[in-house]
């Protein structure tokens, strides 16, 4: 469809673009990314023919754009510059109709049925037909942009060039417009080349990304091939981190700010832990990075408070999320800053262990109810757990853990818990084998993310060793306490 060959050029005598080549297939969407002043918009102007390159050529459908007449070219390709205000008001229909210009010719250049159809369709595709007779100036920025896209669609060129199509729009409008363009690409084989400011939007909507630096192509390929942490940091001279998108197989990046708010190192001490009547609480003045399987705010996140709440065995589990939320609010916790667990075990039976390590203290908190203990390897033999009893474990570390260290810490803690059950000879009463846990155990690993950096959390690492030992000792003690209470 579009073939850009060795383009060089720019304004005046200073060449802005040097030796740019790439190829775009029909029905693909390509995003052009790069820092300010790297030549993104200039490249778009050269492709569109508004600017001539000093060297190189732009080929569309096998023909150099200079060999097309202005009208012919407009039927092949069109460019939509950044959102433009007009001095005079026109209606939506008038604005969209202008898109038919290259299809009309002759002295009186009559308006045909084909033109009418194209305009109608473009307005439908962009959802602006309900504003047909409205004046453009009374529409919102997002609606105006949709009208201009409708104008470009009415033009019916197969290649659409866009310069930041969602500039200055809120996220709802950004999504609306990009969804719509993407639909045209996927359904009707429109080819789109668009300049983006927002790396994440480009990644989400484009099939391929062209990353530019100082007028040169730095990288060209699928988003996951181009959006590499080091490459983006290098091109934009900014610290970033790249993570997966929750729904799409596309990389998403986050800026890492360099603000020195935590000039002094913050640490966690035993004073942050309190045992109350209804719950065990951990309250910190700053959020910790947490990975947990909890009732409230499970998963990975940043939270300053953790609670392990004791509920009656007849607690109505069907409305647990709503009830727990209300409970947190009632108790004065910020629901978005708190991780919540639940147990039937009395808070007085909780075990808190403290370990002094060279890099800081590590705390392990366990409540254990083993009435419903189970051997996980035999669990397929039972239908459901009918008795209450759960083991909740917290591991709170003064230190900085990598993502893999978090996952390894969870594994280490789980293995250690199983070992504790084995040691205490807790049996699965149905299979009559040694139990490995209960069906509803929860685990929380929290780290201050300050001080010493720990890349790994496996059993032979410094932090792994203390987790293994700590969880074992605390769980053994908690089981013993639990059994004492029973008798």
């Amino acid at each position: 469809m579009l073939n850009v060959q060795h383009i060089s050029g720019g304004y005046g005598n200073t060449p802005l673009l040097s030796d740019i080549s790439f190829h775009v297939e029909k029905g693909k969407m390509v995003g052009i990314l790069g820092p300010n002043g790297c030549g993104k918009s200039t490249l778009l102007k050269v492709i569109s023919g508004i600017m001539s390159p000093t060297f190189g050529s732009v080929i569309i459908d096998g023909k150099d754009i200079n060999h097309y007449s202005t009208r012919e070219l407009a039927r092949k390709m069109t460019i939509l510059p950044q959102l433009h205000a007009t001095a005079f008001s026109s209606t939506v229909r008038e604005t969209v109709s202008i898109g038919r210009y290259p299809h009309q010719s002759g002295f009186f250049s009559s308006w045909g049925a084909e033109d009418e159809r194209a305009v109608k369709k473009a307005m439908q595709q962009t959802g602006v037909e309900k504003y047909e007779d409205h004046y453009l100036e009374f529409l919102s920025g997002g609606e105006q942009q949709r009208v201009f896209i409708a104008q470009a669609l009415a033009q019916a060129s197969s290649l659409l060039l866009l310069d930041e199509p969602t500039n200055h729009l809120d996220i709802a409008h950004q999504k609306q417009i990009l969804d719509m363009i993407r639909r045209e690409v996927t359904k009707n084989k429109l080819t789109v080349v668009s300049v983006f400011h927002d790396i994440n939007l480009a990644s989400l909507y484009c099939d391929e990304i062209l990353l530019m630096e100082n007028g040169k192509v730095k990288a060209f390929g699928a988003p996951h091939e181009v959006l590499l942490e080091e490459q983006i940091e290098d091109v934009y001279r900014t610290r970033i981190s790249i993570k997966a998108h929750p729904e799409q197989p596309k990389p998403q990046m986050t800026i890492l700010p360099d603000v020195d708010e935590h000039s002094e190192e913050k640490i966690i001490t035993i004073n942050h832990l309190n045992i109350r009547e209804e719950y065990i609480e951990f309250k910190s003045s700053f959020p910790l990075r947490v990975l947990s399987s909890s009732v409230h705010n499970a998963g990975l996140g940043w939270y300053a408070n953790f609670i392990n709440r004791t509920v009656q065995p007849d607690y109505d589990i069907d409305h647990v999320h709503e009830e727990y939320y209300q409970y947190l609010v009632h108790e004065g916790f910020s629901p978005t800053n708190t991780v919540g667990m639940m147990t039937a075990v009395d808070t007085k039976k909780a075990v808190i262990k403290k370990y002094e390590m060279p890099y800081g203290e590590v705390f392990v908190v366990v409540t254990a109810g083993v009435g419903n203990a189970i051997d996980v390897s035999q669990s397929y033999k039972r239908k459901y757990g009918d008795r209450v009893g759960t083991i909740n474990t917290w591991v709170i570390i003064n230190g900085k853990l990598s993502d893999e260290a978090f996952v390894q810490a969870m594994m280490t803690a789980t293995e250690s818990k199983s070992k504790a059950l084995q040691h205490e000879e807790v049996y699965d009463c149905i299979s009559d084998t040694l139990a490995t846990g209960t069906p509803t155990d929860s685990l929380l690993i929290a780290a201050t993310q300050q001080g010493k950096f720990m890349q790994y959390g496996g059993p032979i690492t410094e932090v792994g060793q203390v987790i293994g030992r700590g969880v074992f000792e605390a769980t053994v003690e908690a089981i013993q306490t639990y059994r004492k209470g029973d008798s």
Binding site: T70, T78, I79, L80, H84, A87, Y101, Q155
Partner: protein
């Protein structure tokens, strides 16, 4: 064509016909409708109609139409609602030519009394060439801002030249001022013949670019992407508009407000689409100036007011009223 546009055209044509009739019939001598075809019963009325009033009305109509259509085109081209035919300094060029003719009491052989309009047109033409080539020198793509600024520079300079001649003149002061204030009186058919070819060429040039003007409202780049040959079209529109302005100023002096008010009123009533805007401005510009001329020669008979004064007196309040009403109802 849509119904509303049919209405717009028929209204404009009726207003124009009524204006023409009022223009030729009202005055110190009464001219009945029958005089148009009947030269026998009232020979003096017949000669007043065809010898004095008709050429005056036709000239006023052509001047008003030229200024209005040129204003509409310039406003669209420069994407500036405050642009008028005088923005690019072309009228100043014509004025310098005309004032110089009076100042130096020039009279070329053969053409005699027509020296003034001829030199005026030459002045307009030279100015247009200078403005365009100077703007091109600054930036080859002929950006709108460059054009407007170049026009401002030339207008100021040429305005100073006119002021200089006014300051130095003695007995011609009154003649120069009255010319500058504009008038279509005592011109006759030769002036109509002189302006007509320019009006025809200019109007055709603009009319051929009516759809291009629509596309250019969205910016040069967008227009180019729509398939408009922006550079050539821009030259054509500038040439057409300048030709109309230069010709109008050369025969009648600088008559203000018509080029600004008429396109605005037309746009407010019937929209921005240049396919209709140009023609409707042409028709209504003609009507407006015919009526203004009628007022200027009848309001303080037997003497006459400069027509530029009337256009400003009528134009400014009407414009303000429409502007006010529109902003209120829309805003």
């Amino acid at each position: 064509m849509k119904k509303s546009m049919m209405f717009a055209y028929s209204t404009s044509i009726i207003i124009l016909l009524v204006s023409i009739w009022l223009g030729v019939s009202i005055g110190s001598a009464n001219v009945p409708l029958s005089t148009l075809w009947d030269s026998e019963t009232n020979p003096s009325a017949y000669s007043i109609l065809w010898g004095i009033r008709m050429p005056r009305v036709v000239l006023a109509g052509l001047v008003g139409a030229s200024l209005a259509i040129a204003g509409a085109a310039f406003q669209g081209l420069l994407k500036n609602p405050l642009a008028d035919p005088y923005t690019l300094g072309i009228s100043s060029g014509a004025s310098v030519g005309a004032v110089a003719t009076i100042f130096f009491s020039l009279s070329l052989p053969i053409i005699g009394v027509y020296t003034l309009p001829l030199i005026g047109m030459i002045g307009a033409f030279i100015t247009m060439m200078l403005v365009l080539s100077f703007a091109r020198l600054i930036d080859r793509t002929l950006k709108m801002e460059t054009l407007i600024l170049t026009g401002v520079i030339f207008s100021s300079f040429l305005g100073a030249c006119i002021s200089l001649m006014i300051a130095l003149t003695g007995q011609q002061l009154r003649e120069i001022t009255s010319w500058l204030l504009g008038s279509v009186s005592m011109r006759g058919w030769p002036y109509v013949q002189m302006i007509l070819p320019f009006v025809v060429i200019g109007v055709v040039l603009l009319w051929l670019n009516r759809r291009e003007l629509n596309a250019m409202m969205y910016g040069d780049e967008r227009a180019q992407a729509l398939g408009v040959n922006v550079k050539n079209r821009k030259y054509a529109i500038l040439a057409g508009g300048s030709m109309l302005t230069g010709a109008a100023v050369a025969v009648s002096g600088t008559i203000g407000f018509v080029g600004l008010v008429v396109p605005h009123m037309t746009r407010m009533l019937w929209g921005t689409d240049h396919r209709h805007l140009l023609t409707l401005s042409f028709l209504n510009g003609a009507s407006l100036l015919i009526l203004c001329d009628l007022v200027s020669r009848t309001i303080i008979t037997p003497s006459e007011l400069p027509i530029g004064v009337i256009t400003a007196f009528i134009g400014a309040p009407v414009f303000s009223y429409i502007f006010f009403k529109q902003r209120r109802s829309r805003g």
